[in-house]
Symmetry: C2
Subunit: 368 residues, 2 copies
């Protein structure tokens, strides 16, 4: 893959009558009324969090056309808020404002805001329109695209939710200027994931570009976001409700969700847990004879370059992993299904991992 210019770029998620565009570019949020084409009616509510509101709420408001009734709701920040209580606050606000079925929700923020607002939109009056305005790298390359919405449950991540597609996704790459480095690294985990599961060339490009990405070099960022979104859009168009290929996007997530749930949501960032989880999946793939030791070492270097943790949480035991992994949404009846790597750039869903091999991995994988 060669470098892509950092100017505006539009992709489409092709889902028939529910198709929608992803606009990617610097400064997109500065164009007054830019969100107008995606509004369903004359009522809009911007939902964001306490961290993002002071930075981008005013700009987001200006991105809505004049004459529309606009409300704002600012929630607390963090993965621990992605629960029923906070979705319920969105519903309360919509009803108190008298918003009807033709209203539009605007999710301004990271993956937590996007997932929660999308779920609120999916269920308010049995479904209203919503727009994604992701402001973290993780949300821009992954969670804002594809219509997976939902909330966490103390017993498992994203256990309650809906498939509900946005009307459009607006990615203003300038918003990454204010992103803390740790969150940037977390987002890079999902970018690396796309290379690992189906694009070896992109993985090689990333390997070279990670230093530039961590320096927020505009062309590198634009290239990473565009390629990630294109791969995600392609997979979602093929398999919207995860009957097949979409499950590959869960590489590292079965291990990662177990880490997040065990640590209490918000201690590890989602991307950090996915990073460690991808390394665990790669290790397991090597134990199955699919990857070489050198492949695993290469991934370890890539993750280190991205600034991600390489160890599982200190004190997290084998049973802590197993009990949470058994609740994974991919499982069929009582068989554990994992996304593993046949090669670097080629993932598969595998449901015949010998339990002993998994236990061995969980025993031996380093804790930090």
């Amino acid at each position: 893959m060669t470098q892509t210019p950092s100017g505006p770029h539009t992709l489409e998620v092709a889902l028939g009558s529910r198709s929608y565009p992803i606009h990617i570019g610097p400064g997109l949020l500065n164009e007054p009324g830019v969100l107008a084409p995606w509004l369903a009616g004359q009522q809009a509510m911007i939902v964001t969090n306490e961290t993002v509101a002071p930075l981008y709420l005013e700009r987001c408001r200006a991105a809505l056309p004049e004459g529309v009734e606009v409300r704002e709701l600012v929630l607390p920040d963090g993965e621990a808020t992605k629960n029923l209580e906070h979705v319920s606050r969105i519903w309360d606000a919509l009803l108190e404002a008298g918003f009807n079925r033709r209203c539009t929700l605007v999710a301004l923020g990271g993956g937590v805001v996007g997932d929660m607002v999308g779920f609120a939109a999916a269920c308010y009056q049995r479904g209203v329109a919503f727009i994604q305005v992701p402001t973290t790298l993780l949300a821009q390359v992954d969670s804002s695209v594809g219509g997976k919405t939902g909330i966490n449950h103390p017993l498992g991540k994203n256990m309650v939710g809906a498939f509900w597609q946005p009307r459009g996704v607006l990615i203003d790459t300038d918003t990454l200027d204010t992103l803390p480095p740790r969150e940037l690294s977390a987002g890079l985990a999902e970018v690396i994931k796309y290379g690992l599961i189906r694009d070896a060339d992109f993985l090689a490009w990333l390997e070279r570009s990670l230093p530039a990405l961590r320096e927020l070099e505009p062309d590198a960022l634009a290239g990473a976001i565009q390629r990630s979104c294109a791969l995600k859009a392609e997979i979602v168009a093929e398999d919207e409700t995860e009957q097949g290929v979409r499950a590959l996007l869960n590489l590292g997530h079965t291990f990662g969700h177990a880490i997040e749930a065990h640590q209490g949501y918000g201690d590890w960032l989602h991307g950090e847990a996915v990073g460690a989880g991808m390394l665990m999946a790669a290790e397991l793939s090597a134990r199955l004879g699919w990857l070489s030791v050198r492949d695993v070492e290469r991934l370890r270097v890539i993750l280190r370059l991205a600034g991600l943790p390489l160890d599982a949480p200190a004190g997290m035991g084998v049973d802590d992993f197993l009990s949470r992994m058994r609740l994974d949404k991919k499982n069929v009846d009582s068989r554990l299904r994992l996304v593993l790597l046949r090669a670097m750039g080629d993932a598969c869903v595998y449901d015949a991992t010998p339990e002993a091999l998994l236990v061995e991995l969980l025993e031996q994988f380093p804790r930090g």
Copy 2:
């Protein structure tokens, strides 16, 4: 319409790949394993309430095939339980049981159980299978068919929910033997609704058959349930997500929901509120010059024969109605949309009711 035999009868809700059958007949729940064809996997949870559990839970369990992992959850009874707290209890139970995406929920009970369990199924792990086993007349003729699921909010009825179709509907007409007369009358309100909105012949048949229906005469009941379900299935197949004709099924509901919300859910039964609401809609239609005074009087007699209240709640003011009606899901932007009657057996959605005429009706309609 002539009388229909009370033996088993099957209808289909035609929705492409999501089509499903409605089986109607006496004693259907006594057939061991009868629910087997509708199971998605090897895990099933029957959700019911404290009133229905002692009567039908054992039979429902036997209607599931042997070898399936079956759990049971018994919730309290009543419209006041149709809220997020109780849906959440269903999700908790599913997660505690370790149920995965291929599990099946069975809703055993009336409209409250059916709406709540359907919504729980729509959102658990972003959507799992469910089966409707309605045990009240109202659920059998209306709420169990068509995939409208959801819960109430203090500010409005069914304000949070999803369109989510069951895998099948099993209507054992024998369950009506244990139904309290007041609930039977409430169910008759929805039966009368079908006649009013699009089947004048059925309305005339009902007019003659109401005494037999209230006596639980099997042929009359079978006829009323089959015709109601057929009309509902026809409308849902035409317009699953209420973009058009399906809105007609809301005849009486805009007034009715206002009554229910104002009284606190559960004081008036849903069907009772719909009955009074239909009379209000008919009165308003007469004031618009569409119905004759004689038509309205005829409806009053029909509702009285069904054992339904003819007055609005004592002490419910004009503003109590208007403020709740403005939140109705049918409204577009700030225009109030009502289902009214052009003639007996011919309903329409109307959004140009002069406010003064509506206020006059609300002032003059009798309170009980």
